[in-house]
């Protein structure tokens, strides 16, 4: 039954036809094209759809449009005074922009609306009041710190005093690098905490994410997933679905290419839709396209599938047992990847050790949960080019994989990456949405869009591998590490995805933090009947790092050495080649240890806190970019590759940029296919571009979203963009400056070699008073030569890393380091943990944008602290996920987030652009160990399997009470 109703939205009356069951969110987005409010869960769990009704925040996904007829509704698009057809930003919006309240921006409209409601009744809220008001809004990126700051400091942004307010209101701790310290003021853009260049679009709801885009004639696709964890398809009957009104196409395994796909070329083991076998609940079986999403959903439910069920394996030990059912015939004992690395001689070294301890640790199934669900739109252009809009963090790999599956040249695929609402590794692979949308679009001749629901995201998976780790560490009397060996079983789920790399990463990153003279790693990535695991922030490393840090702390206690001191004794030094041939240049790890120790008040707290309160330390570091590409040789599909000599590695540049200057010289367009996914890469690259050109950042526009425009950058993974993309951009910009020099020299009457560029001027070195406008020089160039375009690229240095099997993984031009101290309180009667405070120091090289760096740290701390104590994808005995939603799968809310102090130590990386390294992934690594240690310190019991839930803590406390009368482990204070 269709009703005609009048809605009052942002002061305008809209009379429209609605169904009684249409939600306000759907009506706003689909009928009024107000796409600022986001659909990130559709069941009230996340707050991304928050709008105001009668001035009060509501979840518009749970409100029926008919219920709010006649009531004033305000959406993000309605904030701000209209002036000459443009809405001015509200002070609150300005504060979000300037205080680091925005990263991917997907939570932003909801956050801003909830905060607007708060400020309208309470203009000066306390921190607790802010947290209460935002308690229903989840953010996966910021750790909430920037959001709280923005609301607290909103006051400073009234009266248009943006800049002044920013200066006194927003001190962002940042450091001057060694290089720039030598010459203060040397840089203009680099090193500045500039607001994100996309922040205004995100805070006004203007930023378009894939699900916000509507193409003419666009239709909607939906995938049917397997209902069983393991089996073969006996029969599929799509006739009822195909007969449904509004259905335009139904496809099954028979309609998709036979080509398998995946991530690592040696392990392409996925089909677009199941050909015969299904390997996990949710494994794609069929798909439909229909005139709207609701019809597509109904059609999917009408597809009848009969399965012959096979026994499922859900656990790595079960899966590797003799006679276990095989998930894939090709992987014997279900082991898809096996790693055996041995450097030095661990057995001999253990025999010489004064103390050896072996422990077993278990990780958890973690899911990235970016706030934006995956989405795609596919269209085939009349010349046969496949155009795909997709929410991805690695556009080039998607382009490559589409070309591979559809047997078309890479150049015939155009990938457009709209704004992306977070990835964390979950959007690094080509998804069934990308592929099915392309198949359905070819079949129907219409653009097809597909989106995952929150539940489907969990079934698609690609989260962190759950790892089962047996670690053995040997030290001398002083706690100096002599030998370390590890055996890790990684629960990989049903497909390989990124898992080969994961299995190698789990071993390769351990020896970069401490000197380990003898090292052995045996890793097994095991296939199980669960959604495939993939690469998640810190790829493969967080769980082993957690286990290692715990073990080191246990050993420190065993030997009565202070945990900070034992780290100092083993800490990595700069200019070291590690036992596994990782080539470390800059390293300020010790400085981070000294700094966290001092700042956290470690010495006055460790061992001196009352029961129920604890402090702990954890450290970690990561690569600044993978030294090698996922595929080999040149940019060409493997089946097209000619009879050239076998190439062991990729031989093309990993990051490529073009800088084009507008004809009047007043704007620079920086083109690079680097994926801005919320981490801030567009902003950082724009700063690097401006710095290298010598013009203000405000004149630089980034074009990173379209593969037709921007040359390849491999993507936002392995913390690579600042270093690799940064080099490509700075080189492209330098090429432009080089081209301008003769023209400027002519205008200035000096030698080309004497020309310098800065602040939009070109001047004679040493005499800034002799200058011309940068733009004038650019115009002169154009007059004579036509377009002023520079290009640049970056290849990792030759000969990086070792030459053993798997040496490529973990090999990087540069490595980051960091230390974190965590303080917790634990309710000893319920086991409930409150993570109170984090003190974190990082060596990320020279920060290009300190505020962005701290944003990454704050986000990583909250995400990973939640991972340590709350997050876990749980399965039942049939392989079904028990908590595929945001109230069952628990990411930290603003009320759980600790207070965070984040700062950086001075560092300069010779291999990084302007001395920069990475922060995005490395910042996660110290966190797990620090939280676990603080809990052990507060309770006297070590919990070695993640997540460290209240229930596990309580059980361990009771067990200890039962078995001993000895009060507590050495680590617990007596005060």
């Amino acid at each position: 039954m269709t009703l005609v109703r009048t809605l009052l939205v942002n002061g305008q009356r809209h009379t429209l036809a609605v169904e009684p069951f249409d939600t306000l969110l759907d009506v706003l987005r689909d009928k009024l094209n107000l796409t600022g409010a986001k659909k990130a869960c559709n069941v009230g769990d996340c707050g991304a759809c928050t709008v105001l009704v009668d001035g009060r925040p509501v979840n518009s996904c749970l409100v029926l449009a008919v219920e709010v007829e006649g009531r004033p509704i305000t959406t993000i698009e309605g904030l701000g005074e209209m002036r000459e057809g443009v809405r001015e930003l509200e002070p609150l919006q300005k504060a979000f922009v300037h205080e680091g309240g925005i990263q991917c921006g997907y939570c932003t409209p909801g956050m801003v609306m909830a905060a607007t409601a708060l400020l309208s009744r309470n203009p000066k809220p306390t921190t607790d009041e802010i947290k209460n008001a935002l308690a229903g809004n989840l953010c996966r990126c910021t750790g909430y710190a920037g959001i709280v700051r923005a609301v607290q400091r909103c006051e400073n942004y009234r009266d248009d005093g943006t800049c002044a307010a920013k200066r006194d209101g927003a001190h962002v701790p940042g450091r001057i690098s060694r290089e720039s310290a030598a010459e203060p003021g040397r840089y203009r853009s680099v090193g500045e905490s500039l607001p994100r260049i996309d922040a205004v679009d995100k805070v006004t709801g203007r930023a378009l994410y894939t699900a916000d885009i509507r193409l003419p004639g666009m239709i909607y696709g939906k995938i049917l997933g397997s209902t069983i964890a393991h089996g073969t398809i006996r029969r599929i009957d799509v006739s009822r679905a195909a007969a449904l009104d509004g259905v335009l196409a139904v496809i099954t395994g028979a309609d998709v290419p036979d080509t398998t796909y995946g991530v690592s070329p040696a392990r392409y083991d996925e089909h677009v839709l199941a050909k015969q076998k299904v390997r996990h609940v949710g494994d794609p079986v069929a798909a439909v396209a229909a005139i709207d999403e609701r019809t597509a959903e109904r059609a999917v439910a009408l597809i009848d599938v009969e399965y012959d069920e096979l026994p499922a394996v859900l656990d790595v030990f079960e899966a590797t047992a003799d006679g276990a059912p095989l998930v894939h015939e090709r992987y014997a004992r279900n082991i898809g990847t096996e790693v055996h690395q041995h450097f030095g001689d661990v057995d001999a070294a253990f025999a010489r050790c004064d103390h050896v301890r072996e422990e077993v640790f278990t990780g958890n199934h973690i899911y990235q949960c970016p706030l934006e669900p995956h989405a795609a739109i596919a269209r085939w252009d009349s010349d046969g080019t496949l155009v795909l809009y997709t929410s991805t963090q690695a556009p080039h790999y998607v382009q490559y994989m589409l070309a591979h599956v559809f047997h078309i040249p890479v150049g015939r695929v155009r990938v457009i990456r709209p704004a992306v609402g977070g990835g964390f590794g979950g959007k690094a692979a080509t998804t069934p949405l990308d592929l099915c949308a392309a198949v359905l679009s070819r079949k129907t001749g219409r653009p097809v869009t597909m989106r995952y629901s929150r539940e489907e995201m969990f079934h698609y998976g690609r989260g962190r591998h759950k790892q089962h780790m047996t670690f053995k560490l040997g030290v001398d009397r002083d706690g100096r590490i002599q030998a370390f060996s590890s055996e890790i079983y990684l629960d990989g789920g049903a497909y390989s995805s990124f898992g080969v790399a994961t299995a190698y990463y789990a071993g390769s990153m351990i020896p970069t933090l401490y000197h380990i003279p003898n090292y052995k790693y045996d890793g097994y990535r095991v296939m199980t009947n669960k959604p495939a695991c993939g690469a998640m922030r810190g790829h493969g490393v967080p769980q082993p790092r957690f286990a290692f840090e715990c073990l080191l702390n246990m050993i420190a206690d065993d030997l009565s050495i202070d945990p900070v001191e034992i780290r100092r004794r083993n800490a990595m030094d700069p200019n070291t080649r590690t036992v596994n041939d990782m080539d470390i240049q800059s390293c300020e790890f010790r400085a981070t240890l000294d700094a966290v120790e001092k700042k956290s008040g470690w010495r006055s707290k460790y061992g001196r806190l009352p029961p129920g309160r604890g402090i702990g330390i954890g450290c970690g570091g990561f690569v600044s970019g993978a030294g090698y590409c996922i595929y080999r040789g040149q940019v060409q599909l493997s089946h097209e590759k000619g009879p050239e000599p076998f190439q062991k590695h990729s031989i093309f540049p990993h990051a490529n940029a073009i800088v084009k200057i507008s004809e009047d010289g007043m704007a620079a367009v920086c083109m690079i296919g680097a994926a801005e996914i919320g981490q801030g890469s567009d902003t950082v690259l724009a700063q690097i571009c401006a710095e290298s050109l010598g013009i203000p950042v405000s004149r630089v526009r980034m074009r990173s979203e379209d593969s037709d425009i921007s040359p390849i950058d491999l993507g936002a993974y392995s913390s690579r963009v600042t270093l690799m993309g940064g080099h490509a951009v700075s080189r492209a910009a330098a090429a432009v400056v080089e081209m301008l020099r003769p023209y400027a020299a002519k205008l200035l009457g000096c030698e080309s070699s004497e020309v310098r560029a800065r602040d939009g001027k070109m001047f004679v070195e040493g005499d800034a008073s002799r200058s011309v406008d940068w733009a004038e020089a650019a115009r002169k160039y154009f007059n004579e030569n036509g377009p002023l375009v520079g290009s640049g690229c970056y290849k990792p240095p030759d000969g990086l890393g070792g030459d053993y099997k798997g040496a490529t993984v973990g090999t990087s031009p540069a490595y980051s380091f960091g230390s974190a101290v965590c303080e917790v309180s634990v309710d000893l009667e319920t086991g409930k943990v409150r993570v109170e405070r984090f003190t974190d120091y990082h060596d990320c090289g020279t920060p290009i944008n300190p505020q962005a760096v701290h944003g990454q740290v704050e986000g990583a701390i909250v995400m990973t602290a939640g991972e340590t104590i709350m997050e876990d994808v749980q399965f039942d005995a049939k392989g079904r996920i028990l908590n595929p939603n945001l109230h069952g799968y628990l990411m930290m809310s603003i009320k759980d987030a600790p207070e965070i102090f984040s700062d950086l130590v001075d560092s300069y990386e010779p291999r990084g652009p302007f001395g920069a390294k990475e922060i995005g992934e490395g910042a996660t690594l110290p966190v797990l160990g620090a939280v676990a240690h603080a809990i052990a310190n507060a309770t006297g019991v070590w919990i070695k399997d993640l997540p460290i839930t209240p229930e596990k803590i309580l059980a361990a406390l009771r067990e200890r009470q039962r078995t001993t009368d000895v009060p507590a482990a050495a680590a617990v204070g007596t005060a």
């Binding site: 039954m1 009703l3 009684p20 069951f21 939600t23 559709n42 069941v43 009230g44 769990d45 707050g47 928050t50 009060r56 925040p57 509501v58 979840n59 996904c61 749970l62 409100v63 029926l64 008919v66 219920e67 007829e69 909830a114 409601a117 209460n132 008001a133 935002l134 308690a135 229903g136 809004n137 989840l138 959903e297 439910a301 539940e455 009667e829 319920t830 409930k832 709350m870 749980q874 028990l882 908590n883 945001l886 109230h887 069952g888 628990l890 930290m892 809310s893 603003i894 009320k895 759980d896 839930t949 209240p950 229930e951 309580l954 059980a955």
Partner: protein, 275 residues
């Protein structure tokens, strides 16, 4: 079909005529969730959000009387600690602006926080029918089984009544700081005559009272021994299960912990000199 009455008479009338065909909807925070998940596709709705006065709270004769569509946000501002805190623990602010006490009682989830707090207040619910009139059911008799209640398909919850001046206490163990479904929650109300009403959530098929525990403190008062004994006796009142949130064992242990904790808290309050 869709009906949007503005008076209670009209609403009751529609309800009596259409029964289950028109699903009453208040905040929609349970129904629309089920609908968006594809678990529910009602033929139509009876929208209660425009019914005048149904969301109001009044007080008379030492008792509060709140309308069936009073929101959690409204309840969280009442000076009745257990109920206010329970209401404040529901979802986030946007959920509380919409979700109602009537919805909470009809959904009757074992984890329904409002239900637990009201059980500890020994509340009454008023169930009304257009022609049969209104019947008042003590809440402790209202929950019949897992998500089954005394409400008939042609009735609406029009009012909930509960005392104003009891000493009450509330504690919810969840797994997160907000948008937090209880693993165990407990509410205790002490009437001016010194009788204890102990209620728990998430430890049985419905929100429950704990008669065994109540009996001990009603008999012996709040001595250390009685508190310990009552807390332990609660094990006989509950029948928790294992699920992905927690094990039955943990729920049982926490029921004991919470009953003891809240009884001690109430003892501290009772001792406070009257001001």
């Amino acid at each position: 079909m869709f009906s949007q009455p503005t008076t209670l008479e009209e609403a009751l009338d529609v309800r009596a005529r259409c029964g289950p065909d028109l699903l009453p909807i208040a905040g929609g925070t349970d129904i629309v969730v089920a609908m968006n998940r594809g678990q529910l596709r009602p033929a139509g709705f009876l929208d209660l959000t425009h019914v005048r006065g149904l969301d109001a709270v009044r007080h008379e004769n030492g008792r509060y009387e709140c309308g069936g569509a009073a929101t959690h946000a409204t309840l969280s501002r009442l000076p009745v600690e257990a109920l206010a805190e329970a209401a404040l623990s529901v979802g986030g602010p946007a959920i509380r602006n919409r979700g109602t006490i009537g919805g909470n009682l009809v959904t009757a989830s074992p984890a329904g926080d409002g239900c637990v707090a009201l059980l500890a207040l020994d509340a009454d619910v008023e169930l009304a029918h257009a022609s049969r009139g209104r019947r008042v059911v003590p809440l402790r008799e209202y929950f019949l089984g897992y998500r089954k209640t005394a409400l008939l398909a042609d009735e609406l919850i029009t009012r909930v009544r509960f005392p104003k001046d009891w000493i009450t206490a509330w504690y919810k163990i969840g797994k997160r700081g907000s948008v937090n479904i209880s693993v165990v929650c407990c509410a205790i109300g002490r009437s001016p005559t010194g009788l204890f009403h102990i209620a728990l959530g998430s430890v049985a098929a419905t929100p429950i009272r704990a008669p065994h525990a109540e009996e001990i403190v009603n008999r012996d008062g709040l001595t250390d021994g009685a508190i310990a004994e009552a807390a332990d006796a609660v094990r006989r009142d509950i029948s928790p299960i294992d699920d992905h949130r927690a094990s039955a064992k943990y729920r049982a242990a926490m029921s004991v912990t919470l009953v003891a904790r809240l009884l001690r808290r109430i003892r501290d309050r009772v001792k406070e000199p009257a001001r």
